[in-house]
Amino acid sequence: MTLTIPSFSLASIGPWITLSLFAIAILLADALSPKGNRTAAPALALAGLAVAGFQTYSLWGKPGLDFARMVYVDNFSLFFYMVFILGTALTVLISLQYLKDYGKNLAEYYALLLFATVGMMIMAASAHLIMIFLGLEVMSIAVYVLAGLFREDARSNEAALKYLILGGFASAFLLFGMAMLYGAAGGTLFLSDLPARLAGDNLLKPLTLLAIALLLVGFGFKVASVPFHMWTPDVYEGAPTSVTAFMAVGVKTAAFAAFARVFFLAFPSLMPDWTIVLWVLAVATMTLGNIVAIAQTNIKRMLAYSSIAHAGYLLVALVAANQLGAVSLMYYLLAYTLMNLGAFGVVILVGRKQDSYLSIYDYAGLGAQHPALAAAMALFMFALAGIPPTAGFVGKFYIFSAAVKAGYIWLAIIGVMNSVVSVYYYLRITVLMYMKPAEADLGAVSFPPAVTATLLVTAAGVLLIGIFPGFLYNLAMNSVKIFPGL
């Protein structure tokens, strides 16, 4: 008996392979290298990311399916590859010193980061629900571990466990949804087949709706949308700050990538059904996120709620369900990656050794003590608040214009109102930094070059793509052509 293996080119999953190999290399290097010497790991990680980045670049513009229609190689996924690589690289940079202070500068950490990145890429590129599920799990499991990295720290443990339990719980629902979809689609889970199978009023409509509902739950959990958001603040607060940053940007982005891919590609025919649900979720998410953020005094927790709110805005882009929406989603996620990583970078610096200062009141007087740092933080805050000329503004502008274009005037209005509310708590940081004297002397902030670099890159990026958004717009625009339904 013969087995004909379908032809495939490893190049189309080049970045995955590279990252996985480098991850393994890191582990090996660690195992072989003399004790205590861990400079290799981060370097390797960065190198791997660089290579992956190059591969991604070289793949650009070759649309297609590969591995028996399991994986898409298209600009949509490649754009997100780039975002993931950027996010991970910056995360590596901000982690170094931070982990050293904790005595936790483990090779495994970097390996897991890379693996998680692979998972994200899989999610963004998958053409089959199984791939999405696997990617999701690769990413999640890696992140569970990362969240629990500080195993002597009760908070870290707790965060990890909560994330794990709820993550498992949610992915069970996701799976169940897939099962239903499998049934509804008559035995296939290829995204590209689904529209045809689900189109028209087939007898299986109820199953499809069930599936959609459950998929919404699964993705909703990963993107932290109300009411599936409740893990976010706890996990963000408990997890190591660098990991929090990684979660906030990477996991969210990946989830949204898959979310968009599945819903735009597979369910265009049922748009009326799921947009309404998403409409409500979006409103609830941004409103709750913004309102509760106001009461927070722990900077990480505040940023957690802010990330919930941002999930809300991003959902708006999904609701709009038009090309502009997809574009705005991509642009916003990139912008969000930059500004959030920047903000967390500052949080790490201000936290001094071992997250000693995480209360927002520790930012009082920063403007006088470290003008540059304060300026950077202010920039990121204004960006998150969506004030020009930052990327945050352009992102919001895109998202709301997408909503308006689709006719969701009220959604847009609620959205902008929310951004006004959000301004309050972002401003409060600047108020503390510039308009309040420092209560106590917390000692000077040390500036490890890696983190400084991160801040420079992110700050520059936030301004650059804020002032010249054209280039990215084009990139995104010709990547979303792949969604015929829009």
Binding site: E137, I141, A154, E158, K162, F169, L175, A179, P233
Partner: protein, 101 residues
């Protein structure tokens, strides 16, 4: 004579619900993990049911992968539980709530 797919679904739903209940009401993390396993298991059942109905094997593929994932999750989960037990000497989730508000 074959078993109609709806039977499989009904059973899987029931098991799934049992798992959900377990997650919601049990305090012991281990048991909660077990219940999650049970939920995944229920999903598998649904897949198998459909697979049998459509006479398509890829449903079974899915089950195969789900099992792998389940295994992985359990491995990590248990490791985590051990770690926590070392610090906090408890396996009761309701005692793990430093992080709130």
């Amino acid at each position: 004579m074959v078993v109609p797919v709806s039977y499989y679904l009904a059973l899987s739903i029931a098991l799934f619900a049992l798992g959900v209940i377990g997650v919601l009401i049990r305090r012991n993390v281990l048991v909660i993990l077990m219940c999650i396993e049970m939920m995944l298991n229920a999903v598998n059942l649904a897949f198998i049911g459909f697979a049998d109905y459509f006479k398509a094997v890829d449903g079974q593929m899915f089950v195969f992968f789900v099992m792998t994932v389940a295994a992985a999750e359990v491995a990590v989960g248990l490791a985590l539980i051990v770690a926590i037990f070392r610090n906090r000497a408890t396996v009761y989730v309701d005692e793990l709530n430093i992080l709130k508000w």
